[in-house]
Every structure is written in C-alpha cells, then in structure tokens.
Amino acid sequence: MATLKTWRTRAALFIAVVGPGFITANVDNDAGGIWTYSVAGAQFGYTLLWVMIPTTVALVVVQEMASRMGAATGKGLSDLIREEFGFRVTFLLMLALIVTNFGNVMAEFAGVASSLQLFHIPKYVSVPVAAAIVWLLVVQGTYSSVEKIFLVASGFYVCYIVAGVLAHPDWRAAAFATVTRPQEVGIRDYGYLYMVIGLVGTTIAPWMQFYLQASVVEKGVTMRQYRASRWDVIVGCFFAAIVAWFIIVACAATLHTAGTTQIRDAADAAEALRPLAGEYAYLLFAAGLFNASLFAASILPISTSYAVCEGLGFESGLDKKFHEAPVFYWLYTLIIVVGAGVLLIPRFPLAHIMVLSQVVNGVVLPFVLIFMLLLVNDRELMGAHVNSRWFNAIAWLTVGVMIALTLAMFVTQL
C-alpha cells in the first residue's frame, strides 16, 4: 500500500513536470535533422550508428544544465545572460539568435512544403496554410493546451520507428554497429568525417537552450520537483536518439543496400524508400517529416520572440494583448510571415540562406554553451545546484568537442 502510494505520488510528480525536456529533444529531429540522418544511413549504411551514443550523452548533459538553471533561478537563459553579462552582449547574441532561427524557420517551412508535395499538395497552398495554422495555434492557445498538442506531436515520431521496422533491417548488424568502435577505414574518408560532424552538429542548437529553460520556468518547476524534471530531459533525449537511430537504420537497410546514396532533401529520402521499403514505410516517412517540420515551425518563432523580448526587456507573453506587447507579437509574426513567405518567391536562393544560417548557428553556439557553463557554475545564482566536479569535467569536455565539431562543420561549409 505504502509503495503504491509513493509510486502514485511519483507518477503525479512526473506528469506535473513532464513536457519541456521531452518536447525540446524531439523538436531537434526537425526537417534538417531527418535529412542528415537519412543521408548518413544512405551513404554509410550502419557504419555511422556509433555516433548516436556519444551524441545522446552530449545532448543529455547540455539539456540537463539548461533545465536545472531554469528550476534553480526561475529565470530564462536570456534573462540570466542579460543580468550577468550586460546589455551589449545580450543584444548581439539576440540579433544572432534571430538570424539563425530565421534560417531554421525557413528550413522547417521548406520541410512542410516538400513533405506535402509528396501528397500532391503544391507549396503555394501548403506553406501559407501551415503558416496560418502555426500563427493561430500559438496566439489563440494557452501555454498548457499548446504544450499538450506539442506532446502529442512528439508522440508522432513513432512513425519513424515503425518505418524503420518496415524496412526489415539487419538488426544484428545494426545493433553491433551501434556499440562497437568505428572502423578505421572510414576515419580517413573526408565524406565520412563530414557526416560525423553533421550528425553531431544538428544535435545541439542555440535555440534549444533558450526554449528549454524558458519552458521549465513557464511551467513553474522548482528545485523541489527537479528530480522528475531531470527524468523528463533524459527520457526525451533517449527517445529522440532512438528515433534518429531508426531513421538511419531504415535508410541504411534500403537505400544504402540498393546503392541509392544521393538524397537532395528529406522528402527525397521518403520517395527513394517507396520502391524499396513499400508503400506504408513511404507514407510513414512522409507523414513523419510533415509532423516534424510543422512542429518545429511552431516552436521556433515563439521561442525566439520570448528569448529576445525577455533579454532586451520588452513586454512579452501570450497572456498579454497585442498592444501591450507589440514587439513580442510583431517579431513573432514577422518570423513566420517572412520565413514562410520567401519560399513562395520563385528562384529564391534557399540553399545559400540555409548555409548562412548554419554558419551563424555555428558562431553563436560556442558563446551560448560557454555562457551556460559560466552561469551554471555561478554559486551566487545556483547556490548548491552548481555542477559537481565530475559533471563539470564531462560538461566542459562535451562543450569543447561540440565547439570543435561545430567549427569544423562551419569551416567545411565555407
């Protein structure tokens, strides 16, 4: 009886704080992420699966810090950066965040367009409709109702797991490739190395840290409930990693085996899967892409507006009216309208803009991660909840490797 009761309180506690960590980790598997995983599987088969374990660890380490800072201080990341590092730093960082997220939003709407093109819906219909849905969803809904929708959307990633199963992979080979050391042949291969960097690079993005910490605060999680919140982060990261694993495996089992290694975008991967893995796998892959793109497109604009307005001291929040928080709503609207709008311009240099946004992403990320580590170790701010010594060692190592890899990716893209 007693154990049942503690179990029930624990379950209730977990449900009360679940969400932010799970959602953030899953949004990470957006249109760009799915494309990267597909290419990794198609080009290199199972040989890149080993990357998933260290990547998951890095993701958990960074997300856990963001979530802990939110619970311990009750403030968002941009608030903390503003309070500790001053106005000018915050201003420049926010400017960069707008540029990189703007590129990300375009990528998401491009994902919506290409996934729906598979169902013969032209982008001149799909993009404006998706933009309107995104805008209304957030402006009309309350945080808790929107969060529920997001949680359901996260659940849809199961599509990829099913698609992976339908591809009939060689489970033994896949499992073996996940836990063994990478083969030495590949390491000297430039394309292989580029892909490793790509896989890790899509995993941790600046916006995630701002979004996660802000939603932990918005949810009112305090250090008392933090244990449950930590599980939210860990479970979310593992689920996201498993989904990514299945995407790689699905493409490896079919495209790689059949010798189809050139994929232009994520929708292209779905198309290529069709003759190899069957109609259902194709449909699931396409539906999964649409869900992922729309989901990320819903979160990025709002999280950008929140971070920017809080850092720079403009009124923000969905509980405010349009005229009470004009900068907040205008920024939000502009990111969506322009981010979706440019896709409708014929011959728009989308690829160049995406590369540019990835470059800015790479430049911003080291600063964000270093600021996070400085903040999370500030005793005046975090009290007893600063990183422990061993955690700090892992965190600095992770951040160091992340920075090196992101810079490497950034150099290769120039």
């Binding site: 201080t73 009750g74 403030k75 608030d79 503003r82 309070e83 001053g86 106005f87 000018r88 201003f91 605060v217 009112g220 305090t222 008392r224 720079l312 001291g313 009124e315 929040g317």
Partner: protein
C-alpha cells in the same frame, strides 16, 4: 544642474588635482541607511587597489571625472552589505515600476548632478527603461560621445522617476539594510499586485510576500493563479503563511489549503488563530466544487420582528464585503431563515416599518450543492446573493454574484 547617465560614468577616467588619470570608475554606491537617493561614493579602480571617492571631492562628472584632491588622499574602499551598488544591483536587473504597474528591466540609471560650492551633489533621478538607455549602452565607445549625446537628445526618454521604483532583493537581511519595503507596491490594488507578482521569478515572489503587510498579502494571494499561490505559500515559513492565510477570505483559504499537500496544510492550520482555523476547517469538510466553498460567513441577518431602523444599525456595524450587503436576511425562531429584504427596499422605507412586512420570497441552497447548480440559480432568478442553509435551515453563509463570476471564470 545636469543629468548624467550611470553608463557614462562607469569606466570613466578619474583625474586628480593635477589632471593626471589615476583610475577608472567601477561602481557607484548608495548607502540607503544614510540617504535614500544620494550617491555615497564612486568606487574607483586604481593601480593601487579600489578607492571610495565621495561626490564632495568631485569637481565635475561626465565622460571624465575631475577631482580637486590628490589620489593619495582617496579613502580605501571596503565592501559592505548595506550598500546599494548601482551597476550590480540595478543595471540590467528587473524592478517594479509602481506607476506603470509592471515589472521592467533597467537599461540605464539617470543621476542628477548639482554643483554646490566647488564640488558636486549626485542623486538618483530615474531609471531608464527605454530605447535611449539601450542605444547609449550599445554605442558607448563606438560612437564619439558628443555625437552620441546629440543623437540621444532626439530619442524620447522612457524613464521611471526613482520614487516609483521598487527594487527586488531576495536576501531578507540585505532587504532590511537597503530599506526595501515594497511601500509603493503595497499601495496598488491587490489585483494589480497579483499581476506584477505573477510576472516575477519564484524567489522574488517570495521576497514580496515576506515583506508586505499581511492584509495586503492575503488580498493579493486571493487574486493570484492557483498554481502560483501554492508555490508561494510553500516557500514561506509556516508562521508567516498562517498569518497571511488567516487574513484571507475563509472560502479562498480553504481552496488554497486543499491544494497544498496534507502535511503543509495541517502545519499552517495549527499555526492559525482558533477562530479562523475553526471556520476554515469547517469549510474544508465540504467537497471542493460545492456551494459551501464559495460562501462567505460575513452577512447581515436580523430577527424578523426588527424594524427598518434596526436593519440600518446592523449595516453600520457590518465589516464584511460591500457585495454581501445587497440583501438583509431575516431569522425566525431557532435562528431559521424566514425571509429576505433587498437593501434598496430598506433605503426607501420609513424607519419604523417592521421588516417582516417587507420580506420577499427567497431562494437558498444546501452547503453541498454543486457549483454548476449555484450558477444556474443565480442565472435563473437574477440573484445578487444566495444564502446557504444547513440541515436546520439556519444560514451558514451567503454566496454573492461576484463570487459566481469568479467561479465561472475559474471553470472556463
């Protein structure tokens, strides 16, 4: 008299009597114990450690600070808890704007510099929360200072005068030393205080509730979102929480205690005064969404044999809410509810008329009536108040239309 911005002074070079640069301004300190707005001294970083430079020895202050004394005469700076440091405690931090009733972030601080004899008097004038302060800080050191000044003149200022600023400080000991009492905040309407508090991080919320008057705290707490209510009460120490809950409307207090976990709710109850505790525990016996949980026990009831004048006397001594006065209830033998008289009827009747003659039919409900039925009764009979009666038909309390509006807003 001229205005100088904190961001201009920070980093400014400090020259001694001979005009040689001896250091740079690192911080500006106010000692609220001595004077609430006057700058006590500038903290100057010199090659030989930090010095405290009082305005009394400053000849002019701007992009460069001139003093009439020699660097060797400047006193050594010793840190103290009782100092308000403008850069650390104010710049980029959140404050409460009493006038605008919201939480804002400080972009810059305006200081008023008044020449007195051969030195200066520096006072905090206002905090800048607008574009002017933001642009000044962005372009400092990038744009030449005279160009910048000319440019900034063109931007309309958005400042909050210092007397309308309440600082946020989470350390109770420091709050006392810095004389932070949320005096301005406490004068606002509780509903406005609630909106402000909801915008604050948890530690700052706790600071406000630890400091403001219990009665104001109680009224504010009633207006706050239930989830935040719970987290505030959980963070306060049990004594303080009990003091605040005692002042709350019993129905609101019962709702709050219901949301807390049982151990905490019992702890708070045991710290409360016996009368208030009895009332709240009685309400707690009824289910959460019932009539009993919305009723107030402060109402006006007089014997049916009384006259209009008696009713008016009862009104004069009544201490409950104004909404509860809309109807005067009449009681018969055994304190049973027998009738009701609207306030309007009393106002237009002559003093000697017996109340039973004015009595109108009334509706009543049982304590365990569900909320939805209560709302339906108000709607159907256009009620202003509804008495809640126990099994012996005695009035236990009344529900007002105002309560129903809150109830319906909660449900949607």
């Amino acid at each position: 008299m001229s205005v100088v911005a904190l961001s201009e002074l920070l980093g400014a070079s400090v020259r001694d009597a001979s005009g040689a640069v001896r250091g740079r301004v690192r911080e500006i300190a106010v000692a609220p114990q001595d004077h609430p707005t006057r700058i006590a001294f500038l903290i100057v970083k010199t090659p030989d450690g930090e010095r405290a430079l009082p305005p009394a020895s400053i000849a002019s202050a701007g992009a460069s600070v001139r003093t009439g004394s020699d660097a060797s005469e400047w006193e050594r700076f010793t840190p103290s808890d009782g100092l308000l440091l403008l850069k650390r405690d104010l710049l980029d931090q959140q404050i409460i704007d009493i006038h605008g009733r919201k939480v804002v972030r400080v972009n810059d601080v305006e200081l008023e510099s008044t020449p007195v004899n051969s030195h200066l008097l520096l006072n905090i004038l206002a905090v800048d929360v607008g574009a002017r302060g933001a642009i000044r800080r962005l372009s400092k050191g990038v744009v030449p200072s005279f160009t910048l000044r000319a440019l900034l003149e063109k931007i309309p200022p958005r400042v909050i005068p210092w007397q309308f600023v309440d600082l946020l400080e989470t350390d109770p000991a420091r709050r006392v030393k810095l004389k932070i009492a949320y005096g301005g905040l406490a004068k606002l309407h509780p509903a406005d205080i609630a909106d402000i508090v909801e915008d604050l991080p948890p530690a700052e919320r706790e600071a406000v509730f630890e400091t403001i008057d219990e009665e104001v705290a109680a009224e504010t707490l009633e207006e706050i979102d239930p989830d935040i209510q719970v987290s505030i009460v959980e963070s306060l120490d049990k004594d303080r929480a009990a003091d605040i809950v005692e002042e709350m409307d019993p129905a609101a207090a019962a709702d709050l205690l219901d949301e807390l976990d049982e151990k905490q709710s019992v702890e708070i109850l045991s710290e409360m005064q016996p009368d208030e505790r009895r009332e709240v525990t009685h309400l707690l016996e009824f289910g959460e969404h019932t009539a009993a949980r919305w009723m107030t026990t402060a109402f006006v009831a007089v014997p049916e044999t009384a006259v209009v004048d008696d009713a008016i006397d009862a009104l004069k001594t009544f201490e409950g809410s104004r909404e509860a006065l809309a109807t005067i209830y009449l009681t018969g033998p055994g304190n049973k509810l027998v009738g009701s008289v609207p306030l309007v009827t009393i106002a237009v009747s002559s003093p000697a008329v017996q109340l039973s003659e004015l009595s109108e039919p009334y509706r009543a409900c049982a304590p365990d009536t569900p909320e939805s039925e209560v709302a339906a009764l108000f709607d159907k009979y256009n009620l202003l108040t509804l008495p809640v009666t126990d099994e012996h038909e005695r009035i236990a309390g009344i529900i007002t239309a105002d309560d129903v509006i809150t109830m319906l807003r909660h449900r949607s």
